[in-house]
């Protein structure tokens, strides 16, 4: 068998119940303690992820978008329990990940994988490409013996657009785009149901970005993958997402079906991000909404709504009341006192 199971498209005709989520995140919080300026200063925390809730249906792609430091990576790592969250619940395929012991968690990892942002840091420089991709096969005893595992590695390399003779080479011999393909093959090797892609193209040359995005898109369709896709720019995820969540300082500001979010943004932050994106047709100029000032320090976020210091429509109530996500219907929710 030459990894044909991997390459076989999943049968999409078997309709899953529409509301069955593969991944369901409820009130996830991850706080990091930070040292004060002096040893005697009061202990403080960075609320890197604050009260995040998210549902990802089988076969869907949900994107998390936000500026640098908004907590996207921390959110992703906490969902996969690579970081221990402070509180909250993550249900994956019927399992409460927070309740799994170390052994059960290791077994569960076969079904959820991650693709990293930095292709130069995410491959062990001392391992051959074949070793890197085969590691998951060995860990989870996938395949009948070493020859079969080799065949699988070869098939995976070809599936991600590399060649089987790359197996014996080492990461430093490859370009960023090729390494990212290796990272994708490593994630696919264990035949996961779910992949978290943490800005998988932002470190790549613009010319390569589209290729890697297309590869991910193809794989997702062929394998019926469920994905959370992290990006710092709404334009990257427009065409591949089913749903989009916009994050700011650890909190979700707005979440909606992709089409709805781009056509009908409700949160002033989403509007600002959309207007900052390059516009394809010159005629379709949007009203540019410029954000005032810098992102505040996450150690000392603004009271009330964390976005109010940069918000064009903030009122006095925004300093005192923290807005929760309010449903507006059709799966569109927004955390803003002025909207909805």
């Amino acid at each position: 068998m030459t990894g044909s199971a991997l390459l076989k498209p999943t049968d999409n005709s078997v309709a899953e119940p529409a509301d069955e989520a593969l991944l369901s995140v409820r009130n996830l919080c991850t706080y990091f303690p930070v040292r004060g300026a002096t040893p005697f200063a009061p202990k403080r925390v960075v609320k890197a992820v604050d009260n995040l809730s998210l549902e990802v249906g089988r076969g869907k792609i949900v994107s998390i978008v936000g500026e640098s430091g908004s907590g996207k990576t921390t959110a992703g790592r906490s969902i996969l329990r690579l970081i221990e969250p402070t509180s909250g619940q993550v249900m994956f395929d019927g399992m409460d990940l927070g309740q799994l012991g170390p052994r059960a968690l290791r077994d569960a990892r076969r079904k959820m994988q991650i693709i990293f942002q930095d292709p130069f840091a995410s491959l062990n420089p001392r391992m051959s490409i074949g070793g890197i991709i085969a590691e998951g096969l060995k860990l989870h005893s996938i395949g009948e013996g070493r020859a079969d595992q080799r065949d699988r590695v070869a098939a995976l390399l070809e599936r991600v657009g590399l060649s089987a003779d790359h197996m014996r080479r080492y990461p430093h011999e490859f370009s960023g785009g090729q390494r990212q393909r290796v990272g994708i093959a490593r994630a696919l090797a264990v035949e996961p149901d779910f992949i978290l892609a943490d800005e998988p193209v932002s470190a790549l040359d613009v010319s390569i970005q589209a290729q890697v995005l297309n590869l991910l898109q193809d794989l997702r369709e062929d394998l019926g993958l469920t994905m959370v896709f992290i990006a710092h720019d709404l334009s990257v995820v427009e065409y591949l997402s089913d749903r989009v969540a916009v994050m700011y300082l650890g909190r979700i500001m707005e979440i909606a079906d992709a089409r709805d979010l781009y056509a009908n943004p409700q949160h002033p932050y989403t509007e600002a991000l959309l207007s900052a994106a390059p516009i394809p047709e010159p005629g379709a100029a949007r009203n540019r909404i410029m954000l005032k000032g810098e992102t505040p320090s996450p150690i000392d976020p603004p009271s009330g709504c964390v976005f109010r210091t940069r918000c064009p429509i903030a009122g006095p109530e925004c300093a005192t009341t923290t807005p929760d996500l309010k449903p507006l219907g059709k799966g569109h929710s927004v955390a803003c006192l002025k909207r909805g």
Partner: protein, 276 residues
Amino acid sequence: MDRLLVKMRGKPLGALGLLIVILLVLVAIFAPLLAPYNPTDPDFMAMLQGPSDQYILGTDELGRDMLSRLIWGARASLQAGLIAVILAAGIGVPIGLISGYFRGPLDEYVVMRLTDAMMAFPVIVLALALTAIMGPSLSTAMVAIGIVYAPIFIRLARAQTLSVRETEYVEAARALGNRHIGIMIKHVLPNIASPLIIQMSVSMATAILVESALSFLGLGVQPPTPSWGSMLRIGTNYMQEAPWIAFWPGLAIFVAVLGINLFGDALRDVLDPRDR
């Protein structure tokens, strides 16, 4: 090993180091065949003689053949260096790796403070204490050096581990479902190996010197068995009349230290896939 030789070819200094190390090892192994005289047999008719046809490198203060003593001395010195360093790295690397990998209070308050204390501990004092238990011998000296050198390896392995544990490839290894032990062996250890190998070669060179000091104090190799260190120290008493007694072991130590360091340097390059 053949791969190692092929790669050494492009590196003349590394090849020189390898050559020196191989020669020294051969000399140490075949000392009984190579030495023209018994290294412990005095010749009271030929004390403190300069190089001659009979004694190519001269004789020492008891008329013993310098060449034979030098050849036999390679055994004690290389053994001392090698075993002491293997012991030090064998103790230090696992402790440093585990401690740096898991961090936490045990690492910060126990391991680090203990290594601080051990770093301040003079090798001579430890060797004296061990001698009281084990009796004076080359093994006592090797164990003493090994223990005293272990904190160097603890610190180095820990410091390197602290940076490697934060890398994305370690995170990827966890995401794949590795156990901690697997991550430490497959992902951390190979990536901290280079500086450890360099440190081993440096430490091996200095261990040869420390062994000589211990031998001189009567805490290492027991007379009349020769080691380069003890020969060097005795030689310093005769610098005026017979400078060769100190010169030959001094040269031997110099060449050995140089060869080991060159070899260690080249080994690090060879083990690095980026250099393939």
